[in-house]
């Protein structure tokens, strides 16, 4: 009966002699009494709003989404009694037999192949450089995170202007400008979106790497330099392994960003065009669920996406191999 579910941070009072042993619930040795809720039951009360929030806004919707994906769910007037029969894997079959869904997952793949390496390499380099300078440090740091703090909707407008058919980028490229132009070109639409998102999120990742760089002991650099290693050597044998946990985090967060992609394809490429070349799963969730009124199919896409994110996260953990700091 004595369930000890206390997690890693559980309250296994070290100076509590009354804890082990069969004589159950012998209270009152310590200064304060220990109930079933632990030493400070008020903790439960203080966290209650947060716990309720997680239950209502995360746990319940996830369960609801899974339930919906196995039923014939459609929108009805509020309060109307309607029958929503169990349909087994029907929604999943509909999803898996839809080439548009496959393409959207493929598009996220294209996004990740561009976004993840670019983000990791550029943000490590810029963070390392930033960590070494003394002058104008604040200016550089601030300029890097300005895109990060600005609304996507706002910066999308500039990119549309820059990458328009006769926009500045094509003016500079002259005869090298792609035809059809960037955002209406089925081979270039998704890469352009990936560049946009990489650029926009970079500031946050640079800050993460800066934090990680603080944790690398200076002695390591000194010892490499004693052995005659130059800057490049130091970078690869001290910096890169030293920021590994941060790299794992960056890769994971980029993956989540990729899974969440909506605003950029919706606005930059007018709803995932051309011909779905830049459509993403979330865009399809929106189109199928809200626009076409098939929330059950949309929920099935969501469930598949969540499974895929978790699987990718597990794989990345294995390969990048990060012990959490």
């Amino acid at each position: 009966m004595t369930t000890t579910v206390a997690g890693p941070a559980g309250r296994t009072g070290k100076n509590d002699p009354a804890r082990p042993g069969p004589p159950a619930r012998e209270q009152g040795r310590g200064r304060r009494r220990r109930g079933i809720l632990g030493e400070n039951p008020i903790g439960v009360l203080l966290s209650a709003p947060y716990i309720a929030f997680i239950a209502l806004v995360f746990a319940y919707p996830i369960v609801f989404a899974v339930w919906m994906s196995f039923h014939d769910y459609f929108f009805a007037a509020p309060g109307a009694q309607v029958d929503r029969p169990f349909v087994g894997f029907e929604n999943y079959v509909a999803v898996l037999s839809d080439p548009k869904v496959w393409q959207s997952f493929y598009n996220v793949g294209v996004f990740l192949v561009i976004n993840v390496p670019l983000t990791v390499v550029i943000s490590i380099l810029l963070a390392t450089a930033l960590n070494r300078v003394v002058h104008a440090k604040t200016f550089f740091r601030v300029s890097y995170y300005v895109p990060y703090v600005t609304a996507s909707v706002a910066v999308v407008a500039v990119w549309m202007f820059l990458f328009a058919k006769n926009g500045l980028i094509n003016q500079i490229l002259g005869p090298l400008a792609p035809n059809p132009s960037w955002l209406v070109n089925s081979a270039l639409a998704m890469p352009t979106i990936a560049f946009f998102v990489t650029w926009k999120g970079m500031g946050f990742y640079i800050l993460l790497y800066l934090a990680a760089l603080q944790n690398i002991p200076k002695e390591l650099y000194e010892s490499v330099s004693m052995d005659g290693g130059g800057r490049v050597r130091q970078f690869f044998s001290v910096t890169v392994p030293g920021v590994r946990p941060a790299t794992l985090l960056v890769v994971l967060l980029s993956t989540i960003t990729g899974a969440n992609l909506f605003t950029e394809p919706y606005l930059l490429t007018g709803g995932g065009g051309p011909n779905g070349a830049s459509a993403t799963p979330v865009l399809l969730i929106y189109q199928k669920g809200i626009q076409q009124g098939n929330p059950d199919v949309a929920a099935a896409i969501g469930v598949m996406l969540i499974i895929m994110v978790l699987a990718l996260a597990a794989i990345q953990r294995k390969f990048v191999g990060g012990e959490e700091s």
Partner: protein
């Protein structure tokens, strides 16, 4: 000596190219929003003063009400910040300082929740909030999913953990209750965390597009990000200078966030962010 100088120059060159790449679109945004005749050529980046006017701001304000949009964004953001700060503080304090059954589980949940892509929950949340509770076109419906931010809970917990335990014990011996402790001992010491959390929470709702886009159909209830997006995707084409008007709206949407971060940039530092996301 010569080599050291060379590497220093290279360092600044790299950083400057980077800064240019990050800042130029913003410069171009402002320039573009002020040009009466759009000039997409390279010369357009250094415009002729005769071509500069506020016409585009007037034009977009006629199509979407900028002030209403800003007010809606403000209310949405303030609601989220209020909930996040009050309840995030309570939860962070409880997780760091108090010993109670289940706190390990709650903390693990707080970390897990940050990994779940919010977008995936949008269909069930939309059904619940818009259909079942009828909260579409309301501030409450917009705010609910953003009401408490798990990252904030983790940041607060991290800060409270850094405070010396003895301080709390001393106050307890003096007979202070937990709420009293939180209010007059812990809170004054975590002010920097408070600012970080406010700044971080600000970016979310202020810049958020998808959720308020789903939940608001009435133009008078839309935050600026949503009305600007609708303008970009539906209305812009019918305007005399579509890019100019779009960029003017973009500047209005961008300015509050950018100014806030420029003013408080000292508090938006790497260490706090790192601890917040790493847990």
């Amino acid at each position: 000596m010569r080599r050291a100088l060379g590497s220093k120059v290279a360092l600044y060159v790299v950083l400057s190219i980077g800064a240019l790449a990050f800042l130029f679109p913003f410069y171009y945004m402002v320039i573009g929003s002020l040009q009466t005749d759009p000039d997409p050529t390279v010369a357009g980046a250094f415009p002729d003063p005769a071509n500069i006017s506020a016409d585009n701001y007037v034009a977009i304000n006629e199509r979407i009400n900028l002030l209403t949009g800003l007010a809606n964004s403000g209310i949405f953001t303030m609601g989220a910040i209020l909930g996040t700060v009050v309840f995030g503080l309570l939860a962070g304090y409880a997780l760091a300082v108090l010993h109670w059954r289940g706190r390990g589980t709650v903390f693990a949940l707080a970390l897990l929740v940050q990994v779940v892509p919010f977008q995936l929950l949008m269909i069930p949340l939309y059904v619940m909030i818009a259909r079942d509770y009828g909260l579409s076109d309301s501030y409450l419906g917009m705010i609910i999913p953003f009401f408490i931010n798990s990252t904030a809970v983790v940041i607060f917990r991290q800060y409270f953990l850094q405070l010396p335990k003895e301080m709390f014990d001393a106050a307890r011996i003096d007979g202070a209750g937990e709420l009293r402790l939180l209010w007059s001992v812990a809170l004054p010491l975590v002010r920097p965390a408070l600012l970080t959390v406010v700044l971080l929470t600000f970016i979310g709702p202020w810049n958020e597009f998808l959720w308020p886009f789903l939940i608001t159909k009435e133009a008078s209830m839309q935050p600026l990000a949503v009305s600007l997006a609708n303008f970009i995707s539906n209305i812009a084409a019918s305007t005399a200078n579509p890019f100019g008007a779009m960029l003017a709206g973009a500047v209005v949407l961008a300015i509050p966030a950018v100014v806030l971060f420029l003013v408080f940039q000292r508090w938006f530092t790497s260490n706090e962010l790192g601890s917040g996301v790493k847990g």
